[in-house]
Symmetry: D2
Subunit: 214 residues, 4 copies
Amino acid sequence: MKYGLIGYKGKMGNSIKKLMDEENHQLVYKLDKNIEEEIDIPQLIIDFSNKSLIDKVIEKTQKYKSKLIIGTTALEQKDIEKLKQISQNTAIIQSYNYSIGIQLLIKAAQMINKQTLNWDKEISEIHHRFKVDKPSGTAIMIKNSLDQEINITSKRLGNVFGEHEINFSSLEEIITIKHQALTRDVFARGVLKSVNYIKDKKNGYYTFKDVMEG
Amino acid sequence: MKYGLIGYKGKMGNSIKKLMDEENHQLVYKLDKNIEEEIDIPQLIIDFSNKSLIDKVIEKTQKYKSKLIIGTTALEQKDIEKLKQISQNTAIIQSYNYSIGIQLLIKAAQMINKQTLNWDKEISEIHHRFKVDKPSGTAIMIKNSLDQEINITSKRLGNVFGEHEINFSSLEEIITIKHQALTRDVFARGVLKSVNYIKDKKNGYYTFKDVMEG
Amino acid sequence: MKYGLIGYKGKMGNSIKKLMDEENHQLVYKLDKNIEEEIDIPQLIIDFSNKSLIDKVIEKTQKYKSKLIIGTTALEQKDIEKLKQISQNTAIIQSYNYSIGIQLLIKAAQMINKQTLNWDKEISEIHHRFKVDKPSGTAIMIKNSLDQEINITSKRLGNVFGEHEINFSSLEEIITIKHQALTRDVFARGVLKSVNYIKDKKNGYYTFKDVMEG
Amino acid sequence: MKYGLIGYKGKMGNSIKKLMDEENHQLVYKLDKNIEEEIDIPQLIIDFSNKSLIDKVIEKTQKYKSKLIIGTTALEQKDIEKLKQISQNTAIIQSYNYSIGIQLLIKAAQMINKQTLNWDKEISEIHHRFKVDKPSGTAIMIKNSLDQEINITSKRLGNVFGEHEINFSSLEEIITIKHQALTRDVFARGVLKSVNYIKDKKNGYYTFKDVMEG
């Protein structure tokens, strides 16, 4: 598949390119801060950059009539709205976290949440010192999936790929669910899974949860 | 309700008696190592003692035609068989752990387990230095609920009421579910819940999972 | 010893009274919000209340010419100044945390801190849902002992007695030191130790570190 | 410096070679299972292989009159004896763990250990599923540094680089010290540090602790 990579110079960009190469996909369009290179028209755009590029990403997706897989965090509500609008004419997968484990964590948390309505809850996350958003997009995604106000705390330590934890506590017991990424490839592998999923999809707005279930 | 308490001198025995008193149940029969006291015939026997008393407990349950709630750990298969047999004539609740959180942990673990078939798995537990069985009955119960061979490791530290943890790991990510008891009352409260459940039950062999769902 | 207890109705107050009773000390003066009871003149005042009572505590210490053990958290700099001033005429022990383990944690943290000057650092704490100050006085004490700006995060969960954690991280490795209180008595036991220490002391301003070392 | 690498095909071997290249050291001798390649005489041998090669390593060190840095785990007492003997004629650094963090963990653990003589203690470790020795050499090194019998538990999960934890517990509180490697390079970087240390050393038997302190 001919694809474009937004944020291709970043760590996630490198990780995605490596795995896409292994599957013989061709990188024909690259975009990063102040750099743009167009070799051919991409059938698919993959965006793991920064929200500052979102307008450009949307413009390119429309111009190329390409599909879109987007993992950029900290998007605003209006960005999501625009993506949903575009998805009437193409297939888009949008998620703040492309790991299988995070999806399982959310599923387990939702199940436990239903049976512990008036328990105390806390969400926490740890990431590498280079991470700019705080709290992480994934932590916010977890909170939203539980549909209530929950305090989120964040630590920034060394080169940690990503840890997310949810605690549920009554006065008598605590249940904790934790996810740890052991390599940056965990997310790139989920992107690859999404590439296979989106290939045959026409129009529509999908999430990584759809990818896992389909 | 008139009830008998086996292992009434132990820590769990104390904790159960305290909560049963609050609900105005009457302790009419007591049994512990080398001590037996019968004031009246119990309608219900609660046993949180040691497996060395299991034959006596079974004998008494039959003699008094009483119901039975049993949380004794490290029972052998033949003890379980006997209990199931007796349950044709009375109501029995048997579980290695009477906490709501442990049941939720098991439910979440079973769900995750189904979607991570060839991942690595580990179970670990921490208990107070006075605990005699190792690994804990609850850790074994968790392993059995996942229906495969999983390594169990145990720590004995201070006065820890009980911690149980399951790890699921691929080469790229780890999911961990952990349960911590904050007080010994967490189990006694589950026993009280079981007392309310068994009141109206005729014959049958139940677990704490049935109590939680019913 | 005849002693007064400020905050005698609180959980710490109860815990201290229980252990002081065991050692045959006599409670002769009680103070809590809106309540005051004077039976006799105390030789020692123990204050584990709220900083709102600090002026009253100082007034009473001076009036009775009694010694003082104070564990009230969230004191302001001016309160500390006043306490130091009074300590010219009596013996005062002031600390935000009366556990042996916390003192060892701080000692270990200071040693590691010296050899990891440009590593990332984080402090976190978990306490029961009833705790009013956030972050805990102990977390602030830990930060101050390391003598640099460190981010502190806090969770409030169920009935947790108190957990404190420090992380040191380079790009390549993380060292974590954690302390967990298993019972509220851990602090009361440190208070008792302090009572024995202060008995023979004349004037001066001491901390729990002095108690441990002496 | 001209050096030889034993176990050059393994993960640690790769990691060491990468960092040695950066510092312009020349790999002139390679040994792994069934493979041997000699380009020139090494001034230094670095061995992070398997204990099955220890006799060959010792033979080569003597033949080449080279220095030796060895991190092979699970050595037997008799191997250590031989190494000490050879060190009368050359400089040898032997350690089961070449990370700065592990050395700090041990130093902190020894300090805490001295003040908690009759507390409960536990050591645990987690490593990737490919690790053959269990418990890890580092866990054994930690236990030996505390000079008493301590239970060690091990987990094998995914691609975890290495976690080691020590717990100290009274009936009232738990202190935990934990070390996590975030990359395999953490050990290779310690090896590089050792290369710089050994350069100017004549004869003698050193450990990584000497490297850190010197």
